[in-house]
């Protein structure tokens, strides 16, 4: 977690530093993409820096707590809702016991807030083939969705997208990075 914070701080300063000079070039390169995206997913693209491509969660608040914008409980380190990343074992989509209380807390929150939607972003480490890792990432996300449904969360609140190994959280190529990359991120959607 300490590592994440440092990376994030660096990332934010890099964005600020590079923002002005890169804006024009980025806009010309990515304008089409942004245009297409805005029609589909207003919630996650609104309020974004033009062409920056940062997702809502990464821009939000402190970054330690990607869902902090949803409510104060999401950035209270003593509240399980402050945890939004579920980690997995190699080649497995089975939820480990440590994370059951975290998932249960999110499920309870969602049942109490039936208008709130979340996207389960499934991810994998870089080993093995890329499309297989897309499938594995989806299985991981779906195993959390099914736990939440069992607890009573409405299916309409839950969306799944798998990025496989395409969006690593840690850029290293060793076991420590792989562990951080085998994950599902619970991403609350803005209203």
């Amino acid at each position: 977690m300490k590592l994440n914070k440092t990376v994030l701080a660096l990332a934010i300063s890099a964005v600020i530093l590079s923002g002005c000079s890169e804006d024009e070039k980025d806009a010309s390169l990515t304008d089409g993409t942004q245009h297409a995206a805005s029609g589909i997913n207003d919630a996650s693209t609104s309020g974004l820096n033009n062409g920056s491509g940062l997702s809502g969660s990464e821009m939000n608040a402190s970054g330690m707590y990607p869902n902090a914008g949803i409510g104060p409980e999401f950035s209270d380190p003593n509240n399980p809702l402050s945890k939004s990343t579920i980690y997995f074992m190699l080649d497995s989509s089975q939820v480990q016991n440590d994370f059951v209380p975290v998932i249960a807390a999110h499920a309870q929150y969602l049942m109490a807030h039936p208008d709130q939607r979340v996207v389960m972003e499934g991810h994998g480490d870089e080993r093995g083939s890329r499309e297989y890792n897309i499938a594995l990432g989806e299985q991981r996300a779906k195993s959390i969705v099914s736990m939440m449904k069992v607890q009573g969360v409405s299916e309409s609140q839950l969306e799944v997208v798998s990025y496989g190994e395409e969006k690593p959280a840690s850029l290293g190529h060793d076991e420590a990075s792989w562990e951080l990359n085998r994950r599902v991120e619970i991403v609350y959607q803005g209203k």
């Binding site: 990332a11 993409t33 997913n41 890329r130 799944v160 990025y163």
Partner: protein, 427 residues
């Protein structure tokens, strides 16, 4: 519609800016012992405005990196003759050369006439000679064509120097990533970006006629499959179902696309008829089924499935049904790619901690591991079937590599980008 126009514009801009004269170097890491000594004598250049491409240098580099030839550096040559009469064959015999190539490039009002002759040094006789016209912009292509002609004449195998490769690159600035689908010549020059996005791009697949590329884009923050026409930059979205839209693979006749969709709950193989738009579901297992690839005769599809617990390769009829497991050695076999003659398949083979490229003989089912990396992936056959292009990594540096089917010959293509992957060799 401005979206499509924008993409088209990007295509046009990049095609006028060959961005990559220093983007790539090629190192031969393993050559064959029987490499043929050949001298590519610098071609004579005539013309007022000079010649923008050193044609003989490109031919020398092509043949040298193929591993089949050992080229002589120009300092060691005994003179630089450009006509048959000027060649002293005895001198070249003394240099241990089996073959030599001479040529001329003559400029005439912005057009170029290129001619070359290949000689057998011991017999002192011409083996082949051609004359061809080229525009300035096509000179590299002409040089690759010359390499193809020489290669085929002397090895009996079709050359692949005129081909192109597609691949994905990623770069990061802070938390912002830029993902690009690029197409370059087979030697890495003339790289052009054909699609760019802040969200991931994946799985480029050439149409059998080499005119289009199908790929996966997450630009809408969910997966969709697009088919883009290279000449115009126009593209069409062909699959955007809930869940996975992945692993596009063209049927050999170019009329259908096999793909992976998870819209019914878990990833299954489907076939999309590109003419009628009809979608047919081929697999119905409760496991992961993905990475379909057609056999060159169009009859079968090989795919990856973990229905047995671990990912392994399976084969079925391209109409669906008759599913059989193909791989039994190693606990991970995935991402199959057929050789052009259909006799073998390349795959990603894992035996615990490392992932390497292996080749299976379809008749005997014997599996031969041909690379020795730790995370080798995405094998793609050269159109003449002699080499397999794949993505590899050493430490933080990602690169592309090409290896002969027996693993004896290997070359490394090092690009500027450290995140380069999913190479696909054009048909």
């Amino acid at each position: 519609m401005s979206f499509f126009r924008k993409i088209l514009l990007i295509g046009l801009i990049s095609s006028y800016m060959p961005s990559s004269y220093a983007e790539m170097t090629i190192e031969i890491t393993e050559g064959i012992e029987s490499a043929l000594p050949i001298s590519i004598v610098p071609f004579a250049m005539q013309g007022r405005s000079g010649v923008p491409v050193d044609v003989s240098f490109v031919v020398d580099a092509d043949l040298g990196r193929s591993g089949y030839f050992k080229t002589l550096d120009k300092q060691s040559m005994s003179g630089h003759p450009s006509t048959a009469e000027a060649i002293q064959f005895k001198d070249w015999q003394a240099l241990g050369q089996n073959y030599m190539v001479i040529g001329q490039v003559v400029e005439d009002q912005g057009q170029y006439n290129v001619q070359f002759q290949l000689f057998d040094v011991y017999k002192g006789q011409p083996v082949m000679g051609y004359r061809m016209a080229s525009s300035a912009g096509d000179l590299r292509r002409t040089a690759h064509h010359i390499s193809d002609l020489i290669f085929e004449k002397l090895t009996g195998k079709k050359g692949v120097f005129s081909g192109r490769i597609a691949y994905i690159t990623s770069s990061r600035q802070g938390r912002q990533s830029t993902h690009k689908l690029q197409v370059s010549d087979a030697d890495g020059f003339n790289a052009q970006t054909i699609a760019s996005s802040v969200e991931p791009l994946m799985s480029p697949a050439w149409s059998p006629d080499g005119r289009k590329i199908a790929y996966v884009s997450f630009e809408k923050k969910s997966a969709a499959i697009y088919i883009q026409t290279l000449a115009t930059g126009e593209r069409v979205r062909v699959a955007e179902f809930p869940g996975i839209n992945g692993a596009p693979s063209w049927s050999p006749d170019g009329a259908k696309l096999a793909l992976t969709l998870s819209k019914d709950g878990n990833p299954d193989i489907f076939v999309l008829n590109l003419v009628t738009r009809a979608l047919t579901k081929l697999t119905k297992s409760f496991a992961i089924d993905t990475e379909p690839t057609w056999s060159p005769d169009g009859r079968n599809i090989v795919f990856t499935s973990d229905r047995g617990g671990k990912p392994q390769l399976y084969i079925m009829s391209s109409q669906g049904g008759d599913e059989k497991r193909l791989t039994f050695s190693g606990n991970y076999n995935a991402r199959a790619s057929f050789s052009p003659d259909g006799r073998s398949i390349a795959m990603v083979h894992g035996n615990g901690s490392d992932f390497r490229i292996a080749v299976m003989d379809m008749a005997t089912k014997a599996v031969n591991v041909i690379t020795d990396g730790r995370s080798d992936e995405s094998p793609s056959f050269a159109p003449n079937g002699s080499m397999i292009l794949y993505a590899s990594r050493k430490g933080n540096a990602g690169y592309l590599s090409a290896v002969s089917l027996d693993g004896k010959m290997q070359q490394k293509l090092v690009f500027d980008s450290n995140e380069i992957r999913e190479p696909a060799w054009s048909p």
